[in-house]
């Protein structure tokens, strides 16, 4: 049996920046909250076709549909992978924010 369609948004990576972006009514946005929603397979196909045009125009690469739930009207991906991707950051502190406190103390001094 075919998997039931779940509400989805389209994501891709910005060609120049490489960052994850989401297809909204006025183009691509970093904020998944501005993404257009597909509630049916047909709407999903429509969004994918629209995204493909942006690929041809060299705006984005590797678009695909991401299944989401709506929480207070805001799309939240079902998969952890996609939630991390939509957050635009690792789940852990990185760089200077992750260095042990002694180094941070020294910098503050």
């Amino acid at each position: 049996m075919a998997k039931a369609f779940r509400t989805s948004v389209v994501t891709a990576n910005d060609l120049v920046e490489g960052t994850s972006v989401f297809l909204g009514a006025e183009g691509w946005h970093a904020d998944i909250g501005r993404a257009m929603l597909a509630f049916t397979p047909e709407e999903g196909e429509g969004l994918a076709a629209l995204a493909a045009r942006f690929v041809e125009d060299n705006a984005v690469v590797e678009p695909y549909l991401v299944e989401v739930a709506l929480e207070d009207g805001r799309p939240v991906p079902h998969l952890r992978r996609e939630r991390i991707r939509a957050s635009h950051a690792p789940t852990v502190a990185v760089g200077a924010a992750a260095t042990p406190s002694r180094a941070a103390e020294r910098r503050a001094a």
Binding site: E17, G18, R80, P90, V92, V94, T99, P100, R106
Partner: protein
């Protein structure tokens, strides 16, 4: 230290210029993504979860202060102020923009660095022993061989589009610090009965979804035959290796399916057919030139047992612990090699900030003959430190939080970037490592446990080398939930072994407790100062399994 000759300079500069033109053509739409992708991959540029990722080669893991400073500069100018040292002795930048990559490659080329052979289905950058030229038991510096292989393999027309990537490691010591038996081809420098130096050639090792320990292809290969033999080995693989299924395309599958004897017969036949070809190890002048570049630095005579060292160790227990854990014997009296642990408690394993890179560069320039080595365990080695200078080195590293005295201990965890960065990952690795580190943060506790390597991969591709961790952790996705399989008994050294699964996997939250249970059981079972691995090899899986699954039974 190896230095580029004119040819190398030109090759790297031309390659950087070529990629600049390719990026320009991609940005103006002349190249599609399908056309551009293989080109960017041949220059170390991946597209990851959040952004592009640039993998920079550090051949044989060796670099100097100037190069480390340049990496710091790149991190600050074009990335987010840090980089990630990998299990293949490379460094990865996680946030470069496509339009900036040509400038980054130019900046690298200025200091004799590049991103060639860091990705794609080619012969990848050769890895080697971080204690090359240092270890007292070493027969010969393996980097000379590694450099010969680099010259032979770079842009090799026949081997630029192999069925799959191909990794070679070279070690010059019997005690293996290169995971030589887990490579497509592993070369161990040995002496034969006549006292001649040559190579023991291993083939078909690897990790990933089908882990295998390499088998012996040749017990002794004369040095002069090296390139011809490698050419033959690669040619047979290139001819017969599968291209219909990328998961079965590595040489380990070919060797496994045909049998090593059959593979060897074909290699030897090809090797014989190459007899008389001009593919010989360059004798005399060129070899002498390469060898001279890797000649040990002229180290001034220093005190063999400086009184100041013992005095400071008594005054500063943290320093004494660090000296005890993070230094290695050096062939020159009065000197030692220092491991700079990139595993401070709670930081992402293998990461270093620009500030930390500069601090390491400065310490290397002042106290380690201007040399640094990246290890496959995601640490950095200062190879030539005088014992009398150790405290200054320690203080310099401590100032930037790099004084963790944990080399080879339970908190010296190898971890791949996992789901926090990697497009292929199925589970997180970094936070798992951090939680385990926090659990065992006490230096006394770590010392009590002794040598214990934990290695974590966030997917079946095994970049975190979990198969050869004394305790291996493999993160998978089970119906949308992270699940972690545990393996025990893995070993990456000359006594290489693949870890065995304990049983059903555990949830993300359970993993630190699971490791705690395994360590507790080991401490109950061990005899004398037995290590975890020795205990496991004596008692087997059952007692550990009981401890983990007793409640479920």
């Amino acid at each position: 230290m190896y230095r580029y000759d004119e040819f190398d300079h030109r090759l790297v500069a031309e390659r950087a210029g070529e990629f600049r033109a390719q990026v320009a053509r991609r940005l103006d739409g002349s190249l599609t993504e399908d056309e551009f992708k293989p080109l960017r991959l041949m220059n170390g540029l991946y597209l990851q979860l959040h952004a592009y990722m640039l993998r920079v080669a550090i051949p044989y893991g060796t670099l100097d202060g100037r190069q480390m400073r340049r990496l710091a500069e790149i991190a600050e100018r074009w990335d987010r102020g840090y980089g990630h040292f990998t299990t293949r002795q490379n460094i990865q930048f996680n946030w470069p923009k496509l339009k900036d990559v040509p400038d980054i490659l130019d900046a690298l080329a200025e200091v004799e660095m590049h991103a060639i052979q860091t990705s794609g289905n080619c012969i990848r950058n050769v890895t080697s022993d971080p204690l090359s030229g240092v270890a007292p038991e070493e027969i010969e510096d393996p980097r000379i061989t590694a450099e010969l292989i680099r010259q032979w393999s770079t842009l090799h027309p026949e081997f630029t589009f192999l069925g799959r990537k191909f990794k070679i490691a070279v070690t010059g010591s019997e005690h293996d610090r290169t995971a030589v038996m887990l490579h497509d081809i592993g070369l161990q420098i040995v002496r034969n009965e006549a006292g001649e130096v040559g190579y023991r050639v291993l083939v078909g090792g690897g990790m990933g979804r089908t882990p295998m320990i390499a088998g012996e292809l040749r017990a002794f290969l004369p040095k002069a035959d090296l390139l011809r033999y490698l050419e033959a080995a690669l040619r047979v693989y290139n001819l017969h290796g599968r291209r219909d299924n990328k998961f079965k395309a590595r040489i380990k599958i070919l060797v496994h399916e045909r049998g090593i004897d059959s593979y060897r017969d074909e290699v030897e036949a090809e090797f014989a057919a190459l007899d008389g070809s001009d593919l010989v190890v360059p004798a005399d002048e060129e070899l002498a030139r390469i060898t001279a570049y890797f000649a040990p630095p002229a180290l001034p005579e220093r005190e063999e047992a400086p009184a100041v060292l013992e005095r400071v160790k008594r005054q500063d227990p943290g320093f004494a612990r660090w000296v005890g854990q993070n230094t290695h014997p050096h062939r020159v009296p009065g000197y030692t090699a220092v491991t700079v642990s990139l595993k401070p408690i709670g930081a992402p394993p293998g990461d270093a900030t620009a500030e930390q890179m500069r601090a390491m560069a400065e310490v290397a320039e002042r106290y380690s003959a201007d040399e640094l080595r990246v290890t496959h365990e995601q640490n950095v080695v200062l190879p030539h430190v005088a014992l009398a200078d150790l405290y200054q080195v320690y203080r310099g590293l401590a100032a930037v939080g790099l004084d963790a005295a944990n080399r080879g201990l339970v908190t010296d965890i190898i971890a791949c970037p996992g789901l926090d960065y990697c497009a292929l990952a199925t589970a997180r690795s970094i936070p798992v490592a951090q939680e385990i580190q926090k659990r065992f943060a006490s230096p006394e506790r770590q010392a009590e446990i002794g040598p214990l390597s934990i290695k974590i991969s966030g997917c079946i591709n095994a970049c975190g080398h979990h198969h050869v961790g004394h305790i291996g952790i493999l993160g998978l996705d089970k119906a949308g939930v992270e699940s972690y399989q545990i393996t025990l008994g893995g070993d990456a050294t000359e006594t290489a072994a693949l870890g065995q699964r304990t049983g059903p996997g555990f949830s993300y939250d359970q993993v630190p407790g699971v490791i705690g249970t395994l360590v507790e059981r080991y401490l109950e079972l061990r005899q004398g100062r037995e290590t975890f691995l020795q205990t496991y090899r004596r008692v087997g899986m059952e007692p550990f399994k009981e401890a983990l699954y007793a409640d479920a039974a």
